[in-house]
Each structure stands twice: as structure tokens, then as C-alpha cells.
């Protein structure tokens, strides 16, 4: 089943001196359960593409269907509701809410969805345990390492049981050990919870973990191939 269908997507930025065509006619489908990397050099259009898929930005033309719903026709307020219910975001620079503890950061989105307190506590603890942070649930972001913060961000992205998780260069600020660790967790959640991940990267170690690699250049899809990832079969036990 396809969770995402993109047709003839174009994004032009006209606010600059010379208009930039960041996405130049991309068509693409993503099925449930995929673990897909969008790969390309800086400026190739990865962020623009993910922003539109996540309903953060609107395309110049083309359509995006998420679970059969055309999100390009939504109003700004409707897009906020859409994001809350369908998309899990992991940002490059963690972007946790500094005044909230790890568990509060994860539970926040559930609270916005109107989930009962007991249920959201339970879900948040479950997810923080899954990302290996069961001992740090009451820590504030400032007291966590970058890798730990990004794991909280992954837990937050999964809290609302989104249709898919979008991660824009999630490991760009992490060292290789934390990168390895985060990727393992994402793979495991993909396997065990069946969560669909779409992430952008230009880090070869991350690319090696993907099961599908879509390369983009100048806003166009260059290659799109299914691969056997590095350690898909030899996943290390989680710490």
C-alpha cells in the first residue's frame, strides 16, 4: 500500500533575486514500511522535497497524496492538523523544547492530540525505552548529549503513530558512534513497529543502511533503487 504519492512536483522560490527551481518535476511513490534515503549534495533540493511532503511548505505545482489525501489543497491551519496526525518530524538540529523534559517532549504531541494523561505517559515511556533512554526520561534537553537528544526527537516523531517519519539529515550534527546508534534504533523501529522512514542524507554511512536509495540532483530524481542494507541481517542488540 502506498502511503505517499507525488506527481510532477515543482517548487520554485521566487523571493530571491533570481527565481530558483529547487524541485523540478519529481514523481515518486513510497509504500508503507519503507526505509528510504533521499541522497544528494547540498543544494540539490532534499529539504525542499521533505518540507513539501511533510506539509510544511506548498509546491508551485504538482500534487502530493498522503494516504489518498491531497495535502497540497489544505489550508495552513488544516496542514497543521495534518502534520500533527500524519507526520513525525526529526530535524537536523534536534529541536526539542528546552523547558520540557524528555518525557514531556515526547508526550507533548499526544497532548495536542487530546490523548489522556495516563496513555501518553505510557506511550512516552515505551518509546523512550525503545530508543534506550529509559534512565533519562526526566532529563531536560540541555542535560542530554546530541545523540541522546536526537533519540528523544525520534521518540517524539513516533509518539503520534504517524503515517511516516520524515528526517532531514538527522545525523548531520552527530559523531559516528551516535550516528551508528541512531540508525540502529531507526532500523529497529522500522522493523518492529513497521514505521515508514524517509530521511535525507549525504553521509555514506547512513546511505549504507537504507533499503531504498533515491538520489536527487538539481531538483530531479537521478536514480531510485532498492538495495540490501549493510547490517539489516546482523542488527546488534540494543543497549
Amino acid at each position: 500500500m502506498n502511503v505517499l504519492e507525488i506527481q510532477h512536483l515543482v517548487k520554485e522560490y521566487t523571493d530571491a533575486d533570481t527565481p530558483v527551481r529547487a524541485i523540478d518535476g519529481i514523481s515518486l511513490t513510497v509504500a508503507a514500511g519503507e526505509f528510504t534515503a533521499i541522497v544528494g549534495p547540498s543544494g540539490s533540493g532534499k529539504t525542499s522535497l521533505l518540507n513539501m511532503i511533510g506539509g510544511l511548505d506548498t509546491p508551485t505545482s504538482g500534487t502530493i497524496h498522503v494516504q489518498q489525501q491531497n495535502i497540497t489543497q489544505l489550508t495552513a491551519a488544516q496542514r497543521i492538523d495534518f502534520r500533527r496526525n500524519h507526520i513525525g518530524f526529526v530535524f537536523q538540529s534536534y529541536n526539542l523544547i528546552p523547558v520540557l523534559t524528555a518525557i514531556e517532549n515526547v508526550a507533548l504531541i499526544l497532548q495536542l492530540q487530546g490523548v489522556s494523561k495516563k496513555e501518553r505517559q505510557q506511550r512516552a515511556v515505551e518509546l523512550l525505552t525503545a530508543v534506550g533512554l529509559q534512565d533519562r526520561i526526566h532529563s531536560r534537553p540541555a542535560n542530554l548529549s546530541g545523540g541522546q537528544q536526537q533519540r528523544v526527537a525520534v521518540a517524539r516523531a513516533l509518539a503520534s503513530r504517524p503515517t511516516f517519519v520524515l528526517a532531514d539529515e538527522p545525523t548531520a550534527n552527530l559523531d559516528s558512534k551516535a550516528t551508528e546508534n541512531l540508525l540502529q534504533i531507526m532500523q529497529q523501529l522500522n522493523k518492529e513497529e513497521g514505521t515508514t522512514f524517509i530521511f535525507s542524507t549525504h553521509d555514506q554511512r547512513v546511505i549504507n543502511k537504507a533499503r531504498r536509495i533515491i538520489t536527487v540532483e538539481d531538483g530531479k530524481i537521478h536514480t531510485d533503487e532498492q538495495v540490501v542494507p549493510d547490517s539489516a541481517t546482523t542488527l546488534a542488540p540494543m543497549v
Binding site: N51, G54, L56, D57, A77, I80, D81, R83, R84, N85, F89, F91, N95, I97, P98, V99, L100, E104, A107, L108, I109, Q111, L112, Q113, R156, S160
Partner: protein
Amino acid sequence: MNILRMAWKNLWRTKRRTLITVASICFGVVLATLMRSLQDGTYSNMIKMSVQLASGYIQLQHPLYQQQKSINHSIAPTASELSRIAAINGVQTVSKRLSSFALFSSGSTTKGGSVIGIEPDKDAETSNIQHWVAEGRFLNKGDRSVLLTQHTAQNLHLGVHDTLVLISQGYHGVSAAAAYPIKGIVQFATPKLNHLGVFMDLGLAQEFFDTGEQVSAVMITVDDYNTVPNTVAAITAATDGAYNVLDWKTINPDIVQFIESDQSGGMVMIAVLYIVIGFGIFGTIIMMVAERKRELGVLIAIGMQKVRLYVLLFCETILIGVIGVIAGFSISVPIVVFLKKNPVQLPPELATTYAKYGFEPYFFFGTTPTVFLYQVLVVFGMTALIAIYPLWKVKTLEVTTALRS
């Protein structure tokens, strides 16, 4: 995680800045409360003194008396009229007065002043002049001796048991002259009143001025100062409009005018103070929104509706004001309450100046609820106005731009 708790936590992220902002509001509230309380105390003391001693809250007069305070513009209210007035709900006391001017002399010294005929038995409840008798004793009904105010006595070199000579014009030009023994000296707290002149029994005054049963005014006091307008209307009705019924504001236009001009001067100062503080708060809010732009973007990105975000920022802005007001009141309320009970005596140099203008040499403080309510309203109004800024910022926030910032 409710919004108020989150707002509270956000405020203390920049502890020092929030504390400085709160301190500035606190400072403003303390200063404004003290100023307003001083005004309130001064005014109510002025009103109380002049109303009690001189005018009563309401007066019944001859229609021409207010324009020309002549002995000829007298009235002779009947006993039944007076009892009808006394029966009106809220009326506390009803007493008659006859006042005019006279020359006082003793030896070679002559001074001008007022002659005020009072009903000594009723006066205890109204003007309470007996409270201010410094030497000798207060009057009794039917007395043929008089009370002299302190400065008048001093100027005439007279004391208790001496004799005072009065010369004046009586009713319709009759000449009036008499000599009366002095029963007591009155010394008021308000220095100006000590130049007033002579108090005597109403009967004696009527005899001196030859007015028969006529009086200059009927003074009426009420239980509650706020009922004055209603009582004025009731009295007018009870006396079929035969007299001019005036409230203390009309009788003392100078006091009202002084209060109004003094008050507006004070208001301007307080307004300037709050405007300066308002800009301080505004600066804090601008910084707060600017440095959290990305965070606001994240919250909208993950699905928080802008309204909710706005409520959060509104709470943060208002909270600064609330904390400031609470801090301010926790300092100013005890001070004001203490000062109300213990008026501050002025230093001697200031006291002389005050005395010259006829004020008591004290700083009086008041605790009328509006003294405090006003600060609450101003700070709330100000912060609510400032909170428009985050509203506008959130409304125009572009998620993708905010995330890139």
C-alpha cells in the same frame, strides 16, 4: 503540561532578564501606589476636615446665599421641615448655623474674622469642634460666652476669661456691637482654620446679628458619603424646593478644583512612569519572541495550532505583569497600611510652608480600593497591549523560515 505551567517555565529560562523586567514593574507599582495613596489620603483628609468643620456634606441655604454670603440671605426652616429632613434614610445629623463677619477688638488691636453660631449640643456629632478645644471649655446651649480660634486669640492678645468686643452689621443693616467673655481657645490641626474667628451658641449669634429665628444654613451629615446625590434629591423633595440644597462639592469648589488639578498632575507622572516601564516590558517581549523563533517554528511544525501558541505567549507576557504587580503590592500594601495608621509628620521647614498654605503638617495616606485597582488595570492593560506583538509575530511566522533560523 498545561499552558500556564509551560509559560511559567519559559519565563525563567532567561531568569535575569525576567527578574529585571519584573523588578521594573514592581518598582512602578510601588511608586504609583505610594503616590496615589498619598493623594488619596491628602484629599480625603482635606474633604473630611472642611466638610466636618465648615460645610457638612449637604447644606440647606437661601437661594442667593451661595453667590453672596450675606446675613440678609438667611433662612428660617420650620421644625417640621427639619424633622422631615432628619427622617430621610441615611441622614445622620441636622444642625443649624448662622455665620457672618465681624471686627474683633481688644485694646488697640482690631482684626476681622468670622462669627459662627453653632448648636453646641448637636455639634458633637457633626463638626466635633469640642475635640479641638485647647484651653478653657466647649460651649453649652444658651452660653453667653464664646470660643476664639488660636491665631485670632494670639493676634488680639486674648486668653480665656478675657473679654472680646465684636462690631458688625446685623440683619438688614442693623448695627451690631457687643462684648462677650472668652470661654475657650480652639486650636485646629489645619493651620488656616486657626484664623477663622469666633464660635458661639446659635441663640447668641441670632441675638447679636438680630436675625430672629433665621440661620445662614442647615448642615446635614450622612452615614455614607456615596449617598450624597440621592440624599440631596430627597431633601429637595422634602422641602418642596424652598431652599437651595447643595452638596459639599458645590459648597467647596476650591477643594474640588484643587483635587482635580492635583490629581491630573499626579496622573501624568504615573502615566510617564508606566510608559517607560511599558517600553521595558516591550523590549523583553521582542527579545523573547526573536530568540525563540525556531522553537515556535518547531511547535507549529509538529502540529501545534497557532492559537495555542499564541495563548502560551500571551500567558507569558501577562504573567510578567502579574508577578510584577504581586511583588509590587507585597511591598507597597504593608507600607501604605502602616502609613495610613501613622501619618508622617513633616520636617519643621516643610511644616511651616504647609502651614502657610493652610495644610496640616502631615503626609496622610489612604487605602481606597481604587488606589490599588488602578495599578492592576494599568499593568494588565499595558501587558495586554504589548501581547499584540507576539500575536502578530506568530500570525506571520513562516514555519520553514523559522526552522532554518
